[in-house]
Symmetry: C2
Subunit: 426 residues, 2 copies
């Protein structure tokens, strides 16, 4: 066994032992530990920020792009937000122990379906060191041990944060190994975590497509993926155009770089001649580039000519691209059914919305689009665990198994059946 394999095996054994201990820990003690972790995080501010400054300096020296450096950077305010996040998670209801269903069979057997922790969660992520706190808090609250494998660019920061969290755990009498950081963040450890059958109950990769594909390719343990969002806004012929404009601007411009941004604008042909000049003007004004089909170009009229640099012809690939930028693919469709067919063929089953005053068209869309979150007269930005009222979010699943859409605490649990009888046999 290689040194790295030995390392991951040891982390795994420690995590399993911690998970056993956590399964029998009263909820109040878990909450106390979360608060102690918050305390230790604040107490260690100086060392965490110093470690982070070294990571940031190294990233700058390596010529990393400003967006990455920004994601990597911690300051007092961001660290305080991490601590506050742990306290908020402590205040949430406990998912474990909930009785999901109870029933009695004619033979007198009493059945209960009870929520239990998954056990050991592997969490693979990239540059944000605050994710170290967030993931640790959510996994612990749901009764799970977690092995965190952050990005190499954040190793110093993550190490300092994980040490503080471990002190909080130990101070509360919980195993410090409930939260462990993989100290060697290379690709090989990703592979080893994925092969740890019987040790890791769920592996969650969160990050760029390359990272997730690496995990999926090699993993033999269960994985819940967080792939991209190719989200569409469909403006039906019965749409309120002021609402459509608001939803388009919110969906594209508020944060173009995240997965619940819209990448495609579909417009019903009956309303294209009025909708597209209005929406187009508003989007172009905000600096959005439009990739349009020919009917959309005609509907845009003068605007397309005057803003020729911003309005270009769409290729088929544009409708299947997660731009994560101020770029929007635009298409005129013949009907709601046509919009649904386009989304099913080109979208990523993440988040799609219809704007319409026609309830029948809305229900057709809501039923026909097979995405994790489908909306009627609301922004795609609402695919978010906090907006759902989950109080927490570890990510947004693009899978259909176990968890779909925003993943909160409940999605980090499993269940078992408890059956009580008086000697029944078959």
């Amino acid at each position: 066994m290689s040194d790295l394999a030995q390392l991951v095996a040891t982390l795994g054994q420690q995590a399993r032992a911690a998970a056993r201990a956590l399964a029998g820990t009263p909820p109040a003690r878990i909450d106390a530990a979360l608060r102690a972790m918050a305390d230790e995080l604040l107490a260690a501010e100086a060392s965490i920020l110093a470690a982070n400054a070294a990571d940031v300096a190294a990233a700058r020296a390596a010529g990393q792009v400003p967006a990455l450096v920004d994601r990597l950077t911690l300051d007092s305010k961001r660290l305080a937000a991490c601590a506050a996040g742990l306290r908020e998670v402590a205040a949430l209801p406990h998912p474990v122990g909930q009785v999901l269903r109870e029933w009695t069979q004619p033979n007198g057997l009493r059945f209960a379906k009870v929520r239990v922790p998954l056990g050991v969660i592997g969490f693979i992520y990239e540059s944000r060191p605050n994710v170290t706190c967030d993931a640790a808090g959510l996994c612990l609250k749901s009764g799970n041990a977690v092995i965190l494998r952050g990005g190499s660019e954040a190793l110093r920061s993550n190490t300092a944060i994980a040490a503080a969290l471990a002190r909080g755990l130990a101070a509360s009498g919980l195993p410090a190994t409930s939260v462990q950081l993989v100290p060697v963040p290379d690709r090989e450890t990703v592979r080893l975590l994925g092969e740890a059958t019987g040790v890791i109950d769920l592996l969650i990769p969160r990050g760029g497509r390359g990272l997730i594909e690496t995990v999926v390719r090699s993993a033999r343990v269960p994985v819940i993926k967080h792939y991209d969002g190719i989200c569409a806004l469909y403006v039906d012929r019965a749409a309120d155009l002021a609402m459509a404009e608001n939803l388009a601007l919110n969906g594209k411009c508020s944060r173009p770089g995240v997965c619940n941004a819209i990448e495609t604008l579909l417009v019903h042909r009956d309303i294209a001649a009025t909708a597209l000049p209005r929406l187009g003007a508003a989007l172009l004004e905000r600096g959005v580039q439009l990739r349009v089909d020919e009917p959309a170009r005609r509907a845009l009229g003068d605007l397309a000519a005057r803003r020729a640099g911003q309005v270009t012809a769409a290729t088929p690939a544009d409708y299947r691209t997660e731009f994560l930028d101020l770029i929007l693919a635009v298409k005129v469709v013949d009907s709601t059914a046509d919009a649904i067919a386009h989304i099913e063929a080109n979208g990523s089953h993440h988040t799609d919305t219809i704007v319409t005053a026609d309830a029948a068209a809305a229900e057709q869309f809501l039923a026909g689009v097979d995405s994790a979150v489908v909306l009627w007269n609301a922004s795609t930005r609402f695919n978010d665990g906090f907006e759902f009222g989950f109080g927490a979010e570890i990510g947004i699943s693009t899978d259909k198994l176990h968890a779909r859409g925003p993943m909160g605490l409940e999605e980090l649990t499993s269940y078992k059946y408890v059956v009580r009888g008086n000697g029944q046999t078959r």
Copy 2:
């Protein structure tokens, strides 16, 4: 692309198209199709039994063991049971469309979590041709298309059955490709199904450990495993011995070859001297071989000596073995906590039961044993979808993600979130 890869790709495309059609099919039409499939199965009895006779003859000629030949064999009665099973599934409530939860956020957004089909299910199984009907019925009822990959020894039978099912589908106006059989049942098709990301939403392998391990090793699509059951019966010091005897005999002898049979008997030391002679005599009488630790041998006393051929010393491996035979590993434990620790270290998290009149010991066991089904004063045989009242069972999951324990119709579904607003943005 190889011919086989092309074949599996075509099956996959057809299944996805069928799944799209099924997602919009009214429940009553699905039930009508299930009944039509039952009709066609009975109408095709002569051809199905002829095909089956050819499979059975080939299996005999190949020197297959009698148990396999029996599993393979169909007759009028077994075929009628398949048809009746499809009608029973048609009569069950529909899982799809159920609203699992509804709530409204302070901003007025109305959320609904709605059950939807998974999409396309891949089902890999071995010699029983009746599983072809059962799996097809359950997948269709839950709105899914299914690709069935049965064993090579049952190919003629499965082909005849699948053809009848397809006629029933077509007669009901549903895509005949809602249920497809892989016509080339070699290992390569197992691998290809496991690699069909974006096509297969869930792969369920059911069969021997070798088959399941092959699937798990190569699959990149989500898999729910049906591994072995190393199930324990724990006789606490406060056990009713008549009840313990019944549960032991039921758990071991009624069907030793299936996964919910007990493989381990744990006895509290305070009751060993009375419990073990009684339980041991009853088990030995039924032809069960006992693999015992030294304290158990002492407790058995004379019996161990008189039945020396049936009572042998247990090795550590015996406590981690799924015998699937009239063999039982026996161990004396010091306490309920000791029983729990043994089960957690040696069992397979499948099904475990405690016999006791002591409610505190029972609750300690039910909380402490992390198995899919944990029972108090009831036989491990109750880990079964029908006994749970599910009305159907596609298997028993040994995973913790998505489905744990008996899998019925609900476990073949996912969900989506439907959000209704009036123009909300963030």
